[in-house]
Amino acid sequence: MASLISCPHCGTRPKEEFFIRGDANPVRPAPMATDEAWNDYVHLRVNPRGRIREHWQHVAGCRRWLVVERDNFTHEVFAVTDAAKAGEGAR
C-alpha cells in the first residue's frame, strides 16, 4: 500500500501520485442535523487499528477520488474503488 496503489482507472501507480485526505467513513450530515452530528463528522474519528477505508485522490493521474480499503497495521490493500461508486454502495 505504502509503495503502490492500484487505481481502478489508471492501474498500479506509485504512492506519491496520490493525495490522501483521511477516513472515508464519515458521511456529511444533512444541513439541519444536530450539532453533535456535525462535530462528529468534522472532528471525531474511530481511528481503529486494522481494516479501514480511506480517501485517496489520484492527483497525478485521473484525478478521481478513490476509497482505499486497507489494513493500517499490515498495510495490505483489500480494494480500491472510485469514491462515487463506493458512495452509491453506502447509500
Binding site: 500500500m1 444541513p31 456535525w38
Partner: protein
C-alpha cells in the same frame, strides 16, 4: 611482517597491479582485491580505532558486516568517511585514511579511555556530569562529542551525480551465491523476468571462496559458467555491486547500485550511485549466512578475524592472514579454515575446539586442543599470542593471527523489515526468517541450509515453486556433483567463561560482556533496553556480527532461551545508503519544479525582478534606470497606477471552468456567499470556507452562461481548491450535474488598472467597454482587435478602475506588448506583486497574509458576505460555533503609524498603551504592512481583539524581535477611496 600475499592462488589478477595509499603510505594490490585484502597483503593490520576506548582495530570480516575495518576513502570533496574496507573495490589511485585517531593511528591520545574504562561502564554518562548544571554543556558534552563519531566531513558540496530508477520483474533474487544462482537459473530457463542483485563486484558468493570442487571444477569456475548463461538470457538482468537494502510494502525493494563508486577515472556522464526501486512479483532472499565471532578476552586485537574471512582471504584473494594462525572454533567450520590454510602452506599455531568431542579431523600435523578456549590475547597493535585454557590450565601460544568461528546465523535482515519477528530455531541455534507470505522466501544458507548441495537444491526448489505459482512450467536444473562439503554443525558458545580481559560483543561500539552484565543488573535486561543502554548494535554495522552473541549472553544471564530474549527490530537500511543516492537528481534548483507565467518573457523584457511564489517565479517590481532601491521602484509604480495606469501579470491565479445544469447550485454550496442569482455576464468576489468555518480561499466567480462559470483561486491554493472541488463533486454530491476543469495554464491573465485603464484597453478591445456597456463587475467574452477571442473582467484588487484581461496563453506576450504600446501615451507602467501588495493594502483587501487558515469571514471584515439564508454551504454549520463568534476575536483593522520616522513590519504584535508585554496582554498582530506612497506614511493591516470597536485608539506596535516599538492609530482597514468612486468610474 605477518600477513602476506601467497605465492599463488586466488581470483585476483596478479598481472594487473594497482597503486593505492593508506595514511599516506604508497602500497600496491591487484585487480580483484578489496581494499581490505590489499591492506592485508601489505601486512597492514591496524586500520582504525574503536568508538569508545580507541582500541586498535583491524579487519574482522570479508564482507558488508564489517564492524572495525572502516576507513575514509577519497580526498577533497570526494571523501567518503566510514567506508568498509572489506567491501570497497580496489582501484588505481585509491586514497584511504584511518579514522578516529589523533594525532596518528599508532599513537592515539584517545586510547587513554581504555585505561579509564572501569569508570566508563555502560550508561556511565547518565549517572554523572550533572553538577554543576552548566558544566554539562560547557565542559563535559563538548569533550564527549569530540571523542564520539568516527569519520570526519566538512560537508563540502558533492561534485558527483546520482540517479534513481524503477525496475520490474517476476522474480528478484537477492544474492548470487550458490542458492541465488540456482534460483536465478531455474527462473531464467523457465522464462521469468529475473533480476539477480549481488552486493559484491563478482557474482558467486560463497563459491568464490569455497574449495570443494563443483562438477569437477573449482567452484568459482562453475559460478562463472552459470553467470555466463544468465548473462546471455534476455529475460535476466544481472546487477552486481547492488545492495538490496530494504523491503517495502507491496514487495517493492530498495537497492543501491554502486555504478562507479570504485573507479580511478569517473565518467561524468554516469552517476556514481543509482537508487533502484524494484517492483518484484516474487523475491528470493539468497543472502547466505554470517559467521559469528567468539566472545573471549581480548577478542578485538588486529589480526583476529572470523574463520570464514581468513578462508576467503586465502582462497579468493590469495592472502594469508598471518604466518602462524591460531584457530578457535565451536564447530566444524574452524576445521575447514585449518584445511584451507594447510593446503596453502600457512602454519597453524593451534586449533582450539571448545567442544570436548567431535568427529572433525584436524589437518595432519596441526595441534588440536579439544575442550579448550582462548581466555586472553597478547599484543599491542596486533595479536602476538593467545592465552589458551584447557581445564584450568593456561598456556601462552604465539601466533600472529586468530581465526574464530562461533557458528552461523542466516542473513534474514530484509525478511524482518516489515514487522515480522524472527523465529528462533533450537536445532540450528539461530534466528530464522518469519513466514512472510508467498511474495518473499529465503533460500540456501539464508534459510538454514548451509551445505553447498543444499543451497543449490533449495534455491532451485524455491524458484520452481515460484515459476509454478506464476502459472508456468518450471524447467529444472541438474545439480552438479559437489566434492567434500563443509559441515555446518556447531555447539553454541555465546561467550567464553573466564575471560582475562574485556571480551567484546559489539566491536565498533566497544560493548563487552561486562556492559551486558551491568545492563541486566540494573534492570535493562530487555533486549531493547540492553541495546539502548549499552549501545550494542547501534554502530554502523547495526549489530550484524554482535547482536546474536548479545542475545545469547542476555539469555544466559536471565536464565531464559534466546527465543524469549528475542531480537531488536530489523529496519532499513541493510547497509548504509548515501543521502545523494536517496535524493537522486531532485536537489538544488531541481528540488521542486519551476513554473513560469505565460507573461514571463514580457515581464523579463520590461526589466522585472522575479521572486519565488510557491513554484512560480512572479514579477516583483520593474526597476527603471536610476532607481537604487526596490522601494523607489514600487513607490513610482504605485503612483503611476493611481494617477495613470499600470499592467500587472496575474496569470498565476488558479482558473477553473465550471459547466453543467447544476453548476450554480454546486458553486453555491462551495462558496459561503450567494452565487445562485449571479447574473450572466457578471463577476463576484467569492469566499470559500473549510468545513470548520475558517476561510479557505478567495477569488472571483464569473458567470459566462447560464450553465457556465469561471472561477479563480489564489496562486497558492490553485491545486488545493481544485482537489477540494473534485472532492465535493465526486464524493459529497455526486448527484449534481457539474463538470469542471483547471485552465490555469491555458490563459494569460493581466490586470490593467488606473484611471486611464479604459482608454488604453479600448485601443486593443474591439467591443465597447464604456462604463455603460461594461460596468463594474461585468465579465464576458470580448473580441480583441485582430479578431482574437479574449475574456474581460471588470474587477479590481487595487481599488482603481481596473480590468482583468484573459487571452489564450500563447498570445499573452503579444497582447501585453500591445497594451504597453497603447498605454505609452497615457503613461502606463508595468508593475509587479510588490506594488500590487501596496495597492491592495491601501484599499484594505486581504490576501493569504490575512487569510492564514485561522480566520473567519467576520474576522476579516467579510462577515456580511455570508449567505446565511442559504440552506447549506461548506463551513456553514461550524461557523456558528461559540468560539468562532466570540466578541473578543481578533478582527481586521487598519493601522496608521503615529511616529512618521518609524515603520511597521508584518509579524509585530499589538499592546495597549502602557500594558506590560505578556501573552495575556497580547492584543493581536500585524498581518501586512507597507509604506503607502498615496498616504505618505506607513500603514498596516492587523488583527486586533474586538478591533472594529477600537477605531481611533492609540496602540503600541510591538516588534521586540527587531527591537522596534511604535505607536499607531487603529482605523478602518480601507485607507483609500472608501466610497469606491474610483473603481466605479
Amino acid at each position: 611482517m605477518s600477513a602476506f600475499r601467497l605465492a599463488s592462488g586466488g581470483l585476483v589478477d596478479r598481472s594487473h597491479t594497482l597503486r593505492f595509499t593508506f595514511d599516506g603510505a604508497s602500497l600496491t594490490g591487484h585487480a580483484g582485491d578489496t581494499l581490505a585484502s590489499a591492506l592485508l597483503a601489505n601486512d597492514r593490520l591496524l586500520l582504525g580505532r574503536s568508538f569508545k576506548y580507541h582500541r586498535p582495530r583491524g579487519i574482522m570480516t570479508a564482507g558488508p558486516s564489517e564492524p572495525n575495518g572502516l576507513v575514509t576513502v577519497g580526498s577533497g570533496a570526494r571523501r567518503d568517511p566510514n567506508t568498509k574496507a572489506t567491501v570497497a573495490e580496489l582501484y588505481d589511485g585509491l586514497e584511504a585514511r584511518s579514522q578516529n585517531r589523533w594525532p596518528s593511528l599508532a599513537y592515539d591520545i584517545g586510547a587513554v579511555n581504555n585505561l579509564m574504562s572501569r569508570f566508563l561502564s555502560a550508561g556511565f554518562y547518565y549517572k554523572t556530569f550533572m553538577w554543576p548544571a552548566a558544566f554539562w554543556e560547557k565542559v563535559y558534552e563538548p569533550l564527549i562529542r569530540r571523542a564520539a563519531g568516527l569519520g570526519r566531513t566538512d560537508l563540502p558540496r558533492d561534485p558527483d551525480a546520482y540517479e534513481k530508477s524503477w525496475a520490474h520483474c517476476d522474480l528478484l533474487v537477492v544474492g548470487a551465491g550458490p542458492a541465488g544462482l540456482a534460483a536465478a537459473l531455474v527462473a531464467a530457463r523457465s522464462g521469468l523476468r529475473v533480476i539477480l542483485a549481488e552486493q559484491d563486484f563478482v557474482l558467486g558468493g560463497a563459491l568464490l571462496s569455497e574449495t570443494a570442487p563443483v562438477g569437477g571444477e573449482p567452484p568459482y569456475v562453475f559460478a562463472r559458467r552459470v553467470v555466463e548463461e544468465l548473462q546471455n538470457s534476455p529475460n535476466v538482468t544481472l546487477m552486481p555491486r547492488t545492495t538490496v537494502f530494504g523491503w517495502y510494502d507491496d514487495n517493492v525493494f530498495g537497492a543501491l547500485e554502486r555504478v562507479q563508486k570504485d573507479v580511478a577515472a569517473l565518467d561524468a556522464a554516469k552517476p556514481v550511485e543509482r537508487l533502484w526501486r524494484i517492483v518484484a512479483k516474487h523475491a528470493i532472499l539468497a543472502t547466505g549466512a554470517e559467521e559469528r565471532p567468539l566472545v573471549f578476552g581480548g577478542n578485538d586485537r588486529p589480526g583476529i578475524m572470523t574463520a570464514s574471512a581468513v578462508s576467503t582471504y586465502a582462497n579468493r584473494f590469495g592472502v594469508a592472514a598471518g604466518k602462524s594462525v591460531a584457530i578457535f572454533t565451536n564447530g566444524s567450520s574452524g576445521y575447514r579454515t585449518a584445511q584451507d590454510l594447510a593446503a596453502r602452506g600457512v602454519e597453524i599455531a593451534v586449533l582450539i575446539d571448545s567442544r570436548a568431542a567431535s568427529g572433525d579431523v584436524a589437518p595432519d600435523g596441526v595441534r588440536l586442543v579439544r575442550g579448550g578456549s582462548i581466555v586472553d590475547t597478547k599484543g599491542r597493535q596486533r595479536v602476538r599470542a593467545v592465552v589458551a585454557d584447557r581445564g584450568g590450565f593456561e598456556e601462552l601460544i604465539g601466533c600472529d593471527a586468530v581465526a574464530m568461528s562461533g557458528g552461523w546465523s542466516p542473513v534474514i535482515h530484509l525478511a524482518c523489515q516489515r514487522g515480522g519477528k524472527p523465529v528462533w530455531s533450537e536445532a540450528l541455534q539461530a534466528f530464522m526468517a518469519p513466514e512472510a507470505g508467498p511474495a518473499l522466501v529465503t533460500a540456501g544458507a539464508a534459510a538454514g541450509h548451509y551445505r553447498l548441495s543444499e543451497c543449490f537444491d533449495d534455491g532451485a526448489r524455491k524458484a520452481s515453486a515460484i515459476v509454478e505459482a506464476i502459472g508456468r512450467q518450471a524447467v529444472g536444473i541438474e545439480r552438479p556433483v559437489i566434492g567434500e562439503e563443509t559441515d555446518p554443525s556447531f555447539t553454541a558458545l555465546w561467550h567464553v567463561p573466564g575471560a582475562k580481559s574485556k571480551a567484546f560483543v559489539d566491536f565498533q561500539n566497544d560493548v563487552h560482556t561486562g556492559d551486558l552484565g551491568l545492563a541486566v543488573r540494573e534492570g535493562f535486561g530487555h533486549v531493547e533496553h540492553a541495546k539502548r543502554y549499552t549501545t550494542g548494535g547501534m554502530a554502523t554495522d547495526q549489530g550484524k556480527l554482535g547482536n546474536i552473541n548479545a542475545i545469547g549472553i542476555l539469555a544466559g544471564m536471565r536464565g531464559v532461551s534466546p527465543a524469549e530474549v528475542g531480537t531488536t527490530t530489523f529496519r532499513p537500511f541493510y547497509t548504509p545508503v548515501s543521502f545523494g543516492a536517496l535524493a537522486g537528481t531532485s536537489v538544488d534548483g531541481h528540488a521542486m519544479p519551476i513554473r513560469r507565467s505565460p507573461l514571463h518573457g514580457w515581464a523579463a523584457r520590461n526589466g522585472a525582478v522575479f521572486i519565488d511564489a510557491g513554484l512560480w517565479y512572479r514579477s516583483s517590481w520593474f526597476p527603471k534606470a536610476g532607481e537604487k532601491t526596490w522601494r523607489e521602484s514600487v513607490d513610482r509604480e504605485v503612483r503611476t497606477v493611481r494617477e495613470n495606469a499600470g499592467l500587472c501579470d496575474v496569470s498565476t491565479l488558479g482558473k477553473i471552468e465550471v459547466f453543467g445544469p447544476d453548476a450554480a447550485e454546486f458553486l453555491s454550496r462551495l462558496y459561503c456567499n450567494p452565487v445562485l442569482k449571479l447574473p450572466v455576464g457578471k463577476a463576484r468576489y467569492g469566499l470559500m470556507l473549510r468545513e470548520d468555518g475558517m476561510v479557505y480561499d478567495d477569488g472571483t466567480v464569473s458567470r459566462l452562461g447560464e450553465d457556465h462559470f469561471f472561477v479563480t483561486t489564489t496562486t497558492a491554493l490553485a491545486g488545493g481548491v481544485l482537489s477540494h472541488m473534485e472532492f465535493a463533486a465526486q464524493v459529497l454530491w455526486p448527484d449534481l450535474r457539474v463538470r469542471f476543469l483547471s485552465v490555469s495554464d491555458q490563459w494569460a491573465q493581466m490586470s490593467i488598472a488606473g484611471p486611464k485603464a479604459r482608454a488604453i484597453l479600448q485601443a486593443v478591445v474591439e467591443d465597447d467597454i464604456s462604463n455603460a456597456a461594461f460596468p463594474f463587475l461585468a465579465a464576458r467574452a470580448v473580441r480583441l482587435k485582430g479578431n482574437l477571442k479574449a475574456r474581460l473582467f471588470r474587477i479590481s484588487f487595487s481599488g482603481e478602475l481596473a480590468y482583468e484581461l484573459a487571452v489564450p496563453a500563447g498570445y499573452g506576450e503579444a497582447v501585453a506588448d500591445a497594451l504597453m504600446r497603447a498605454g505609452a501615451p497615457h503613461g502606463i507602467c508595468a508593475y509587479g506583486v510588490e506594488t500590487l501588495n501596496v495597492l491592495r493594502l491601501e484599499k484594505g483587501h486581504v490576501t493569504h497574509a490575512e487569510l492564514d487558515g485561522r480566520v473567519t469571514p467576520d474576522d476579516a471584515g467579510l462577515g456580511r458576505m455570508m449567505g446565511t439564508s442559504k440552506p447549506d454551504f461548506i463551513g456553514k454549520r461550524l461557523s456558528a460555533r461559540f468560539g468562532l463568534t466570540a466578541a473578543d476575536r481578533a478582527q481586521l483593522v487598519g493601522l496608521k503609524v503615529l511616529e512618521p520616522e518609524k515603520d511597521i513590519r508584518a509579524g509585530a504584535h499589538l499592546l495597549k498603551d502602557g500594558a506590560k508585554p505578556s501573552t495575556l496582554n497580547d492584543q493581536g498582530w500585524v498581518s501586512s504592512a507597507c509604506f503607502s506612497p498615496t498616504l505618505g506614511g506607513h500603514i498596516a493591516l492587523a488583527f486586533l481583539k474586538s478591533g472594529r470597536e477600537r477605531y481611533g485608539e492609540k496602540i503600541v506596535v510591538w516588534d521586540q524581535l527587531r527591537g522596534v516599538e511604535t505607536f499607531a492609530e487603529v482605523c478602518d482597514p480601507v485607507f483609500v477611496d472608501r466610497e469606491n468612486t474610483k473603481l466605479m468610474a
